[in-house]
């Protein structure tokens, strides 16, 4: 029998959309991740109720204090509340698991011999992480908006600069804030993905990534270290408050977005360099 007869048909090769879909299903079907999503969705509820009965949406954070209460502000307040810890946590868990988890189970070797090239695997893993970051940023913020609109039906919003904007304008600004917040998390996810290629112990990758997120924010508070502040992605998290001024000054947001893209470029490349030269002996 000739070789051609038993070889799999060459066919047209797909773009890899099936692998990406499989990655997303793997993340979203996992009970642990579903619980993280539910926990995040509950945060705006707590914020909305606290705001309704105890005062300002921004009261736990100076960025938003002094704003009138309404739906958009609850959405922003939710974002401000989840950005420092909760979002880095859910991103660390999934991104830290993405390569290290497969290495730990041994499924990494079976993916590679399918074959999936190491580059395509890392691209699919990262694409799925991008979707996870967008989802985890959008869900709490949009639920916050919804709860806010229900609790505080007043249509006019007084923004930080003192002007008033309508609900539609405010919601559009919240969408931009969600996009910006997701981009910050995507930059951080690239870092966590790189860490995930360094170990075969997923919990170690998760813990390291989360620790880094906290350390970066602590360093950002030490004014003596101002020289390194521009390199810390967390330094740019709260630029979303610029969206609550009229007119909006986008320059700081643009700067933050560029830094996040820089993180993606640097750490995805580092992850690729690491994975494509690594002996898979798990």
């Amino acid at each position: 029998m000739s070789a051609a007869e038993v070889l799999a048909p060459a066919g047209r090769t797909g773009l890899g959309g099936r692998l990406l879909a499989s990655e997303l299903t793997l993340i979203l079907r996992r009970r642990r991740n579903q619980l993280l999503l539910v926990a995040l969705a509950a945060i705006p509820l707590a914020i909305g109720l606290a705001t309704r009965f105890a005062g300002s949406a921004g009261s736990r954070d100076s960025v938003l204090s002094g704003l009138t209460n309404n739906g958009v502000v609850v959405g922003f307040g939710t974002l401000v509340a989840v950005l420092p810890i909760f979002l880095p946590l859910v991103v660390s868990v999934v991104a830290g698991d993405s390569v290290a988890g497969e290495a730990n189970l041994g499924t990494l070797r079976y993916l590679l011999i399918v074959p999936v090239s190491r580059t395509r695997l890392l691209a699919s893993k990262f694409a799925a992480l991008v979707a996870w970051c967008v989802l985890m940023t959008a869900v709490p913020a949009l639920i916050g908006l919804l709860i806010g609109v229900i609790l505080f039906p007043n249509a006019q919003i007084t923004v930080l600069s003192g002007n008033q904007i309508g609900l539609a304008d405010g919601s559009a600004r919240l969408l931009v804030a969600i996009g910006y917040g997701a981009l910050m998390m995507i930059g951080f996810a690239a870092l966590a993905l790189f860490i995930s290629t360094l170990t075969e112990v997923p919990i170690a990758a998760m813990a390291t990534a989360l620790t880094l997120a906290v350390v970066m924010q602590v360093l950002d508070l030490v004014s003596a270290l101002h020289a390194i502040h521009p390199w810390l992605i967390s330094h740019y998290f709260f630029n979303i408050s610029d969206l609550l001024r009229a007119p909006v000054d986008f320059s700081r947001l643009q700067h933050g977005a560029l830094v996040a893209l820089g993180y993606v470029l640097v750490f995805w490349t580092a992850a690729w360099a690491r994975l494509s030269t690594k002996d898979i002996s798990s």
Partner: protein
């Protein structure tokens, strides 16, 4: 080069930390063979297989798989290769079927259409169809091993590389795997199967390669191996040194003398002539036997003392 489905030249792997796991291995696996890759635990079988598949990068040496260099040609070569490496590995909280579907989805050459039937067929082939919806974590060791083999059979394969495929299987499961391997070979696939059990290799392989502490100490067909299995005459007597001299006069080879006995490879001589010569020379023959050594003893001889093939 093309006649061999697997060929390596001076293949070597030294792990970071200095461990020399594979040392200058020259494998040659002919097309159509069922090649038994035999060696005790830790002899470098899995490391060699990992290098063949591009999982581990060689420290030195060359690999040709299906006629193309590895790992350079991995994308073109690996679709034709189904493998089991160091036991099965799947996502514990997914069902057997979902795990296979994920591997099928990862294959760029596999279309979405037909995925269900490919997975179903592979499951049926290893007798797992009834347990397909169970979560992998609830599978027994044998079921896990079968699922691993099913993954290797998702596509028609020109070459199968199976690392200890009967590990953890009961005797019934072991028979089924042997049967499956014979069937795959009959359909034209080349099968490279590692094992630490000589009996297993003896039962299902046409060729064998023997690993010992990272080196390939012998390889060839089972026919060549059988030729190494030469019958010996041995005579029990009080005059062992006299017996030894007679055996030498007859031109026999590999003569050994122990207290109370002497033995030699008989070669083309007839046993009755040996007895006559012994008696004529005045050797007091107490017992006379002609026996083929067990394959295991041949291995010990080929691979050096202390090689525990059944370990």
């Amino acid at each position: 080069m093309a006649a061999f489905e697997i060929q390596t030249r001076a293949l070597t792997k030294r792990f970071r930390g200095g461990q020399l796991a594979v040392s200058s291995v020259d494998l040659a696996v002919p097309a159509g063979a069922v090649f038994g890759f035999l060696g005790p635990n830790g002899s470098g079988k899995t490391t060699t297989i990992r290098m063949l598949l591009g999982l581990v990068f060689p420290t030195a040496g060359e690999i040709s798989l299906l006629g193309s260099p590895m790992p350079a040609a991995a994308a073109a070569v690996l679709p034709g290769v189904g493998s089991l490496v160091e036991g099965p590995a799947f996502h514990p909280y997914l069902s057997g079927r979902a795990n296979l579907a994920r591997l099928d989805a990862a294959d760029r050459r596999a279309r979405r259409r037909g995925a269900r039937s490919r997975v179903q067929l592979a499951l049926e082939r290893v007798g797992l169809a009834a347990a397909a919806e169970k979560r992998y974590r609830n599978y027994s060791l044998g079921m896990r091993q079968r699922l691993g083999i099913a993954a290797a059979l998702l596509q028609p394969r020109r070459l199968l590389i199976l690392d200890e495929p009967t590990n953890g299987l009961d005797p019934q499961g072991t028979r089924e795997v042997r049967h499956l391997i014979a069937e795959l070979a009959r359909d034209g696939s080349t099968v490279f199967v590692s094992s630490h059990l000589l009996s297993e290799v003896e039962q299902m392989c046409s060729h064998v390669g023997v690993m010992r502490t990272g080196s390939l100490v012998w390889q060839g067909s089972m026919t060549e191996l059988a030729a190494e299995q030469r019958a010996r005459v041995s005579v029990e007597t009080a005059d062992s040194s006299l017996a030894k001299a007679v055996l030498a006069d007859l031109g026999l080879s590999e003569i050994r003398e122990d207290v109370g006995s002497a033995s030699a490879v008989i070669g083309a001589r007839r046993p009755e002539d040996v007895v006559v010569a012994l008696v004529a020379a005045g050797v007091g023959v107490r017992a006379f036997t002609v026996a083929k050594p067990r394959l295991e003893d041949v291995f010990v001889q080929l691979t050096g003392e202390g090689f525990d093939v059944s370990g």
